[in-house]
């Protein structure tokens, strides 16, 4: 699904080299790494907001640079770390914005778009929130909304930047379980960055990726058998 060819990420200088070869559909990947190590930069590079420092990557065997802005928005959706704090926007309207890549310039919404959004809202069990304004929701509800909007974008790849950041333990687990279920159910590639190592360790089916510390930083695949202390040492110290 996403193949990396000597990709290096960063703005003015290389932050990290990507040493994994590919990411597959139907799987959930969790990316760990210390603050400022480049997790967000990696996610933003994949969704086209930041150009690769060097090297390249391919989405569905097509070079990422060959995707237009609209094409990319139909392939990849991204849930930023901060939920937009906007007044007077209902959950339904917020999720409906996920259909933006499929609308004309005048933003005319079809019956199919509306039906699709309702189906997503029902799937995530947030129908009771549909008419509420997003700024009246709890952090847990907001995160579900953000995931619903990403799903409404109908992409095969969903990236999330620290989605469990503001959530309590119960909501963290609920969110991660939801991501695992929808990745299977809808055959999606889901990649999220996180600091909740203890929580994600509970789920065997999550593929672990880590951004190493040190001079030659690289994103590597993490063996699940690794001892917790080693993991901390390799990625946080």
């Amino acid at each position: 699904m996403i193949d990396f060819k000597e990709l290096q990420i960063g703005y003015q200088q290389s932050l990290a080299k990507i040493s994994i070869s590919s990411l597959e559909k139907g799987k959930v990947y969790a990316l760990i790494g210390s603050n400022g190590s480049g997790k967000s930069t990696f996610l933003k590079t994949i969704c086209g907001q930041i150009k690769p420092f060097s090297g390249q990557f391919f989405i569905q065997n097509k070079n990422s640079t060959n995707y237009s802005r609209i094409q990319l928005s139909r392939q990849i959706s991204f849930v930023p770390a901060r939920f937009p704090d906007v007044e007077f926007i209902s959950v339904f309207d917020f999720v409906l914005l996920g259909r933006t890549p499929y609308l004309n310039n005048r933003g005319i919404v079809s019956k199919e778009d509306v039906a699709y959004v309702y189906a997503i809202i029902e799937r995530l069990n947030i129908t009771h929130l549909a008419e509420k304004f997003t700024n009246s929701l709890s952090d847990g509800e907001r995160q579900l909304c953000a995931v619903a909007r990403a799903l409404a974008q109908q992409t095969s790849i969903i990236l999330l930047d620290e989605p469990s950041g503001y959530l309590d333990y119960k909501n963290k687990r609920r969110l991660i379980e939801l991501l695992l279920t929808i990745a299977q159910e809808m055959n999606l590639l889901i990649l999220f960055s996180t600091h909740d190592i203890e929580t994600i360790m509970h789920y065997d089916t999550i593929e672990l990726l880590g951004l190493e510390v040190g001079e030659q930083r690289q994103i590597v695949s993490i063996d699940r058998e690794i001892a917790f202390e080693h993991l901390i040492q390799q990625f946080y110290e």
């Binding site: 959706s77 930023p80 906007v86 933006t100 310039n105 005048r106 933003g107």
Partner: protein, 328 residues
């Protein structure tokens, strides 16, 4: 109340205000006079003259100016993520004034003609619009951008006062009359220019709806949804400048309507869907301006008040209310 009902009610209110605006004033003109002035125009009949040549163009100017300035305000609030943005506060109107002053007082006859006035107001609005767009790249906070706008306004005002000291009495009078702002200067021959350019801006804004809706969530989210924020902001500032420039050229600088109306529309419709916000701003803006100009007409028998004074007297307290509601 659902949205359709709110719109039907707003349109009914607009029709009432059109009637009030037509019927108010120092000379009593009946609806029959209006009808006859169009189907059976008699140039020797004073009532026909007032109805046909003064009141109707003035009513139409009020609608265009109110709708256009409100739309310009809405566009600027969305692209700058700032509920207090509007052409006047961000210096776009003052840019128009500066260029009108520059050209009116050069003494070159072209610039005192309609087209000279329009082109200088448009140029000034657009240049200052680009300038504020440029500064917006470097500031993050709401307050900073407004302060920059106010500084641009002060800069223009200072420059204008220097130009005024250099100009002769006639030029000074022309400019001073223009700055007072009025909806009654627009003649039938000028109305099509004002109408067509405003309509171009209004129609163009409907093609930005998708992008504006996404921009509400911030630049990062808009980019993820495939929206070109840079292009959208450029087009929006161009539309806002054309609307501000053309209305300022004909009616003089009119303050506050650009902030007050879009915020009122958001409060009433409780949405961020720009299809509703644009349509709402056009209707509410027209009503607001018809109301303000009706006040001007109602008191005109005893005292002449510039339209700008009325819009500011009603608009400024409303803006204070918005600030208190949002940031207190």
């Amino acid at each position: 109340m659902n949205i359709q009902l709110k719109f039907s009610f707003s349109i009914a209110v607009l029709l009432v205000f059109i009637l009030v605006h037509l019927l108010i004033g120092s000379t009593a003109i009946s609806l029959a006079d209006y009808w006859n002035s169009f189907v059976n125009y008699d140039a020797t009949n004073t009532n026909h003259l007032i109805a046909h040549d003064l009141r109707v163009p003035r009513m139409m100017t009020a609608i265009i100016a109110g709708a256009g300035l409100s739309l310009a305000g809405l566009l600027m609030q969305t692209i700058f993520y700032n509920p207090l943005a509007e052409p006047n506060i961000l210096g776009v109107s003052t840019g128009s004034s500066l260029f009108v002053a520059l050209f009116l007082m050069t003494g070159v006859s072209f610039f005192t003609s309609d087209w000279g006035l329009i082109s200088s107001a448009l140029l000034g609005a657009f240049l200052f619009g680009m300038l504020i767009l440029f500064f917006a790249r470097f500031v993050r906070s709401h307050g900073s951008l407004l302060l920059i706008g106010i500084m641009l306004g002060s800069f223009s005002a200072a420059f204008i006062s220097i130009i005024q000291t250099w100009s002769d009495a006639h030029q000074l009078k022309l400019f001073t009359l223009w700055t007072m702002g009025s909806l009654q200067q627009v003649t039938y021959s000028q109305l099509p220019i004002l109408l067509i350019l405003s309509l171009v801006g209004i129609v163009a804004s409907f093609f930005l709806i998708k992008a504006l809706n996404a921009l509400v969530l911030g630049q990062e989210n808009a980019a993820i949804l495939g929206v070109n924020s840079k292009q959208t902001r450029m087009i929006a500032i161009l539309i806002a400048s054309v609307l501000t420039g053309i209305i300022t050229a004909f009616c003089g600088p009119i303050a506050f309507i650009g902030i007050a109306v879009p915020n009122l529309v958001k409060l009433v419709f409780k949405t961020q869907n720009h299809r509703i916000l644009i349509a709402g701003s056009l209707i509410f803006g027209s009503v607001f301006m018809l109301f303000c100009d009706s006040v001007v007409q109602a008191i005109a028998t005893s005292v002449i008040v510039p339209i700008n004074a009325i819009t500011s007297m009603i608009g400024a307290p409303f803006v204070i209310y918005i600030i208190l509601k949002r940031w207190s």
